[in-house]
Symmetry: none
Subunit: 209 residues, 4 copies
DNA sequence: CATGAATGAGTCTTCATTCAT
DNA sequence: CATGAATGAAGACTCATTCAT
């Protein structure tokens, strides 16, 4: 296997001017990705859109891939923080409270820039998923797992790892698909209600629905 | 908007030799896509792998996109047939029978060539999803809908369209993710059991689980 | 060590048209190298000069380096043939005959396109010397060695390997430097005479000069 | 012809700090050239290695070429001094003493940093040879010439200019090639002996070898 | 209808050099 | 005088597509 080029940003911006540049690059990458899609996007246009020279772009990002990676990691980080914050605050709240809250939050997160999420999750080759993203997903799994352990007595399925997998995948894919394919569902509390029902019916021992 | 190039094959192969050529091209496309991924794949290599000249490839497919589209449509068609066959045969069987059967079948379909399914669903730009695929998905939805209507009295959720959406998405994404990320789950009947539980618990009125 | 890109031509030209193209590329490379030097030379200009598109150039040569390598190997091959032919024909002639003949021939070879030889030997990074060139030099050494063994009884120095090294280096560097730095020497039989004297005085046992 | 940029250092370092900086730059250039070769070397990395900013580098050297030129001139100067010192001290010593001494000294000079000498003599485009270097070579020729004149009566070849050319080229190329291609020869007094024999046999009238 | 040589627009990336701070 | 962010021309190389044979 050839040693892959790095995807970590080249240098961390110290001065204010640089930080502005890096932000402009990220913003431009987002914009171009949203407007053109992954494989029509090109670094020259990104630089142009960012209002900087192509050389400056390469001062901060070693290659095209690293631009996308930065965006994906940023998104993954936001998701970790979102779920983390919710679960921390609601650690002692029962499933009936937590599940709808998280669904609402994740839909909201996806709805901020649906097209970007779509490009990021549907068009980026799997090979560009960075270790940092794996870690982010890992951390989310750990958070969910801890919560499920806390409420184990009230939960029907016994294989916790499998449950974590099913939960996280189901929520993510349904929220994603809703935002992309059925945007009208997003503003519809019925959708959130039904997804909650799906998960609660599965999870809860002796459900009283 | 620039008038997009066609994605339908240029001519239907009437003669045997042509059909063989087309099949070779499809096979080669599959192979290259699996080995290299979407954006490392190129038409010259596909032609080479198919054992024909690049010129001949363009005799049958007007452009690169149409190759991928053909593959995706073929796959979509297989899925329609799969679900269609199951539901037709099991139209009068209750959910407890149908759901596990379909899950098993879909997992099996994904497991035939997991990497191909991955490339097809994760790396192909959305713009290349053809109308035919939409129709295929549509038809699956119609089949599921019909089945759910048939068993409406035993089903808890009332918004059938929404239920179809949730069902199809959940099954597809879980099976897909299982095959790709947790291949060990595939040969594990527990996984199928749990996915069935997830859906049955949601769907069935007064479940007796 | 990263796996270096290949320097062998991509495909051997089968059709006449292709052979003409390859020849045009070689000619253009020579021309550009002579006119601009190694690091001002660029593939786009070479293609332009060859009257073909840049794409065609890359059909036959996988990268810039391979263009130069082809030229160097061609030159090395010519040198092997030159020395080989001379030594074969003159294998049984004494040093007093062979040395001047070879010097004359090598000067003539260098004088055909002095600037090209200069660029090839002075500006090409050592790293681009291909195995084939090593072999060519090796073969020349073997030829010289065989000749020296044949005439061993008349030769003063005893360490043949060292003598081969000294001989080949001296002839090559003097002829090269003469053609480049003192072109007026080239048409001057005195120069050849003196170089011959240098080597003969060294080699011949009990010289009668 | 475009007016070529200057290759002389921008300002002579009067203050100590400046001289240290210039030396650091030269050292860094040497290091990068040795490690990376001429055309992988770049000014940013040289500045970094020198521990200064790229801006400061351009304070002392007007362009990349001038860095290399400074190095080459330094090297040429060393060679002049080396040969000058030897010939001055040994001006009245006969060839049998002088030739081996010079060969030993030149091999030693090449052996200090073989890779640097290689890069300097094999990879630097001819266009970057500065007038100062020509002068240095000129001065060496003058020194050798003076010595040969002094011992003219004992020397066989009559054309002194040609002899100077042959001598200097032969010594330089053999020492260079030995150090680069046959490093094992360097520590071998036999090599020096043979090169001496080569030259002495040529030069000395009625040799008594 | 097959071939495959040819095309060239398009893309990533480098690096010598400048100049505002 | 030092800094290092910014510049952008330039160059290597790819690949979908065409078309003469």
């Amino acid at each position: 296997m050839p040693n892959k080029p790095p995807t970590t940003p080249r240098k961390l911006p110290r001065q204010d001017r640089s930080r502005i540049t890096v932000e402009a690059i990220i913003e431009a990458t987002t914009h171009i990705l949203v407007e053109e899609g992954y494989d029509k996007a090109n670094t020259n246009r990104i630089a142009e859109r960012a209002g900087i020279s192509i050389g400056s772009l390469y001062q901060y990002f070693p290659n095209k891939e690293s631009l996308v990676t930065a965006l994906m990691e940023q998104h993954a980080q936001e998701m970790v923080e979102l779920v983390g914050m919710k679960l921390e605050r609601l650690f002692d709240s029962p499933l009936e409270i937590v599940i709808p809250e998280i669904i609402t939050a994740i839909i909201a997160a996806h709805a901020i820039n649906p097209r970007l999420h779509q490009v990021l999750s549907e068009e980026i080759p799997y090979s560009e998923r960075s270790p940092k993203m794996q870690q982010a997903n890992e951390r989310i799994s750990i958070l969910i797992r801890a919560y499920l352990e806390r409420w184990r007595d009230y939960i029907h399925p016994q294989n916790i790892d499998l449950t974590v997998f099913i939960l996280s995948r189901t929520v993510d894919s349904l929220c994603h698909a809703a935002v992309i394919e059925q945007p009208h569902l997003v503003s519809d509390s019925q959708f959130e209600q039904e997804v909650s029902n799906l998960l609660l019916a599965y999870l809860i021992k002796n459900p009283a629905i």
